[in-house]
Amino acid sequence: MKLGLDPAVVRRARELAARAAEPVIEMARTHTTVSVERAVLRLAGVTGADADGIPWVNRIVDAVRDQVGLEHGVALPFFASENWRSMKFALPAGTERDLALMRAREAVGAGVARIDRNRADRDRLLARHGDPEKPWIYLIVATGDIHEDIPQAQAAAREGADVIAVIRSTGQSLLDYVPEGATRQGYAGTYATQENFRLMRAALDEVSAELGRYVRLTNYASGLCMPEIAALAGLERLDMMLNDCMYGIIFRDINPRRTFVDQRFSRQIHARAGIVINTGEDNYLTTADAIDAAHTVVASQLLNERFGHEAGLADAQLGLGHAFEINPRIPDSFRLELAHAQLVRELFPAAPLKYMPPTKHMTGNIFAGYLLDAFFNLAGVMTGQSIILIGMMTEGIHTPWLSDRDLALENVRYVRRAAGDLSEDFTPGPFIRERAARVLSETVDLLHRVADDGLLDAIADGVFGVTRRPADGGRGLDGVVEKAAGYVNPATEILEAAP
């Protein structure tokens, strides 16, 4: 604890975050969404798609919604149906209801059991192959073609990556369904599908064994299908997932209510699966200024923490995101970055923080880019970050090439080797300490306002990422349904039961 933060101020910040989150949590408890219901079906083992490629889970949920309404959940009508392919559903009652409920619990229980097995498998593989030391090196693969991604991911792992993220195709987050099967046609990323998850996890298991080091796999539980993708991640043993309480609202114009309901359910699954979530505060700094908006990052992290805890995530699963995005032309930019990064480190000592490299101020000058990435790597090791996403010198130009990634890894390897323990010699002076204290106090002020005005209003006001998102705007609101009295969700039942 190098910054000498005032514990009373820190406590106050957490109280305010809890107060701001409370009404939204209440809303999330009392509502469901089409994607939550589809996720329940996926956990219950419903897979595949119709001839047009529309997943059965979508067909079913839409039919239930039309014929029964979703306010009771999809589970009872679905499990009451003798032949769901007929797409005729009704709400069961009496013993029929009891039977359906039993079946539903059994089927979903089997899915959750598979998630539990995956978690145990992960623990076993970690024990066998070894868990890499922190900071973990996190690398992105984004060819759009799962069969090009695989060798690139394996190559990256061999070169030292501890975590592989497969970026999604642009636009997937706005699809209200999860595509099926292995895919080879994404734009600037590869579709997140159950089959792609499976293929990549298998490829990384292979390379983990080869390297004697467990290589983690990450994808995005984000966008309109956040709950379903979380379920698929649990079922296919992904290890981390990008999952934020507000990213979809701000950066994808997804409806706020939809997002808050979806994120709660998805986090309950992540909690059970032992998946580390990665939040998206780094993104704020791509639209807002990294100095002016530093406190919005911290405020959002406290909110993400609160929502995460409420959904059952342990501190060790809270990969809170932040980023090295201060304009490099600003005097003392590096020391300001150290102040921000150290502040986050000290506020969340047990969280596996995810630290993002410069993107906004990366230009076509690849040499300047390589340099800035090196200082990012240095800030990462000096402030003890947990997960370091590796910056690419070509960030301002194109999605990473094979050689960009290789050079980026050489960069981080040098920095870790040469200066890995420099934190031993890092004792923040007054400049850094004062900056950190100031960001913290601005955070408290902001959370105060948010708690008073309500989080939804703050979002509508453009507090986060300088983007205004009214509570009733954006995509997917029509997929939100208030739960009825008899609402049944066997997944939440299991997930909310004492473990």
């Binding site: 190559a155 061999r158 070169e159 642009t170 636009g171 114009d253 791509t286 050689s403």
Partner: protein, 254 residues
Amino acid sequence: MTVETMKQIIRPYGDTTGDAMIQVSFTLPVPHGPRAELAALQLAGKMGLDPASVVHSKAMGPDFTFFIVYGKATHLIDYAGIEAPEGREFELLTPAQVNAAVKAGLGRRLVVVGACIGTDAHTVGIDAILNVKGFAGEKGLEYYREIEVHNLGAQVAVPDLVARAKAVDADAVLVSQVVTQKSAHIHNTKQMAAAFAEEYPTSLTGGLGRPLLIVGGPRFDTVTPSDLGVDRIFGKGTTPGEVASYLVHALVRE
């Protein structure tokens, strides 16, 4: 030294006039080793580097090798033959001049519709042009009293864009494209232009029968407007004032 720059024929400059030295890096899909180095030198030779030296080569896994090569470019650049690209084809106006011109020329507000189309969600660029906040110290088009801005935001489907443009009777449609992987920006822009052509089959050109089509983004430097079927391309570092001035030039003064 400025005499130097008037020379007809120039060559790259390492540390002496005429040395013609340049740097290249690339990956070849072959295993690291002497044969790979020969392949790299063959490529350098075909690129006209003679002599060329592989100063660095590194295996990237078993099947790829990364190279850094330095060499002397044998090509000459005919600098005299390169005309300074005509600057702007239009005059730069202040917001007040733009407003006055629109008022006088159109007698109503000029209507623009802006969007990131396709799956592109990079709105920072189009927002820089449209939002009041603006870019590089200049206010965006929303700030102009005589311009009516409809900013549709990110990931707008082309049919939605066309419909909206029709609905508000847009004078100009401003589209941003930042993602270029697999030439997404080119495909999306062409698709957009085709949709407008279909929707306004009798139009002559932008402003004559259909809205003016403007596209912008950081990596359009390999194409021309006519390649894409649009009226104008704006690149890196564009400011709102330039766009407003162009709108007046294309839609009001003409």
